[in-house]
């Protein structure tokens, strides 16, 4: 048999509608409600809050299209493709190819840098001096 205290707790949490009460306590709560006038008063008070909650604005109708959503999602890979792909160690040839590429990129970068510095030294400096002279009030 459910006590009035627990009945009050149920109402405070779940409201006045028995369908929202916990399934394992619903029958006991309904029995108490049927027999006890105080329980009926408590339920009536809980119903006023339910009525407020029921007056909330209705939800805007969803515009999401199930079929488009399904199409977009199933076009994506599943985790199995990633998670269960055997991890592949790089072959020895691949490793040295990467090292070689990195070294070549470093050498090319170095040469380009040196060339650019040389150009700056030959061409840019006099021009800059002239330009500065042109705008200088002194």
């Amino acid at each position: 048999m459910m006590g009035l205290d627990r009945f009050r707790e149920l109402l405070d949490a779940y409201g006045a509608e028995p369908r929202r009460w916990p399934a394992n306590e619903r029958a006991m709560a309904e029995a108490l409600f049927a027999q006890n006038p105080r329980a009926r008063d408590l339920r009536a008070k809980a119903a006023t809050i339910d009525a407020l909650l029921d007056r909330t604005a209705p939800l805007a109708p969803p515009i999401i299209d199930a079929e488009i959503l399904i199409g977009q999602i199933t076009a994506m890979p599943q985790s199995q493709v990633v998670a269960f792909r055997p991890a592949q160690r790089p072959a020895a040839g691949t490793f040295w190819l990467k090292v070689g590429s990195l070294a070549a990129a470093a050498v090319i970068g170095f040469l380009l840098g040196v060339t650019q510095l040389a150009n700056i030294g030959e061409n840019s400096a006099p021009t800059s001096v002239l330009e500065l002279a042109d705008i200088s009030p002194w």
């Binding site: 809050i49 007056r55 969803p62 999401i64 959503l69 998670a83 269960f84």
Partner: protein, 196 residues
């Protein structure tokens, strides 16, 4: 396939069966969208979160453990494990999104309203509805989520607690505090006969 249980469909989806996944989406889309909209307060955010949740379903499907598998949390009499998992993912995504800055919180709450109604009575009802929606928007996120799951979407207490990853006692505490806060902020509506 329409009558197949969620977990069986999820297992098939895990083997790449797109039609099984489609049944799952059609079955849960409306409720998932409603839950997200109740928690987030606006439709566009809700729909983004729902899409993310279903994407995670699809990606998770190959690793899915059916309810009868060892280690499963599902028990006899509970709703299928899949729905519990889906609503947990969805609720977490909603709460994560709510933790981001909310520059136009109350304005967004107004988006809940379906503006198809007209007439004076409908307008009055709309005003009351907007006040209730605004009061809901002011609730702490987890209280609003608890009410969305239990009150508006009629999830059982076990499933709602699982979605929020809390005990049933903690769920009841959230619900009590949420309803009490709404009663305090909307009490004049009830006195005016709004609760009738």
């Amino acid at each position: 396939m329409q009558d197949e249980l969620d977990d069986a469909l999820m297992a098939r989806a895990g083997r790449g069966d797109k039609s099984a996944f489609a049944v799952l989406v059609r079955r849960h889309l409306a409720r998932a969208t409603a839950i997200a909209q109740r928690i987030l307060g606006n439709r566009s955010d809700a729909e983004e979160v729902v899409q993310e949740a279903f994407l995670r379903c699809w990606q998770k499907a190959p690793d899915w453990q059916p309810a009868e598998s060892p280690g499963s949390a599902a028990k006899a009499g509970e709703r299928a494990q899949f729905a519990t998992w889906l609503y947990r993912v969805l609720t977490n995504l909603c709460l994560d999104r709510r933790r981001r800055p909310q520059p136009v919180e109350l304005e967004a709450a107004g988006e809940i309203a379906d503006t198809r109604d007209d007439g004076f009575a409908q307008t009055e009802r709309g005003e009351v509805g907007k006040r209730v929606a605004e009061a809901m928007a002011r609730l702490p996120d987890r209280q609003r989520a608890a009410l969305a799951l239990c009150y508006y979407e009629d999830l059982g207490n076990i499933e709602a607690a699982a979605a929020l990853n809390i005990s049933i006692g903690a769920l009841e505490s959230l619900l009590v505090r949420g309803r009490r806060a709404l009663r305090d902020s909307l009490g004049d509506l009830a006195i005016d006969g709004g609760a009738g």
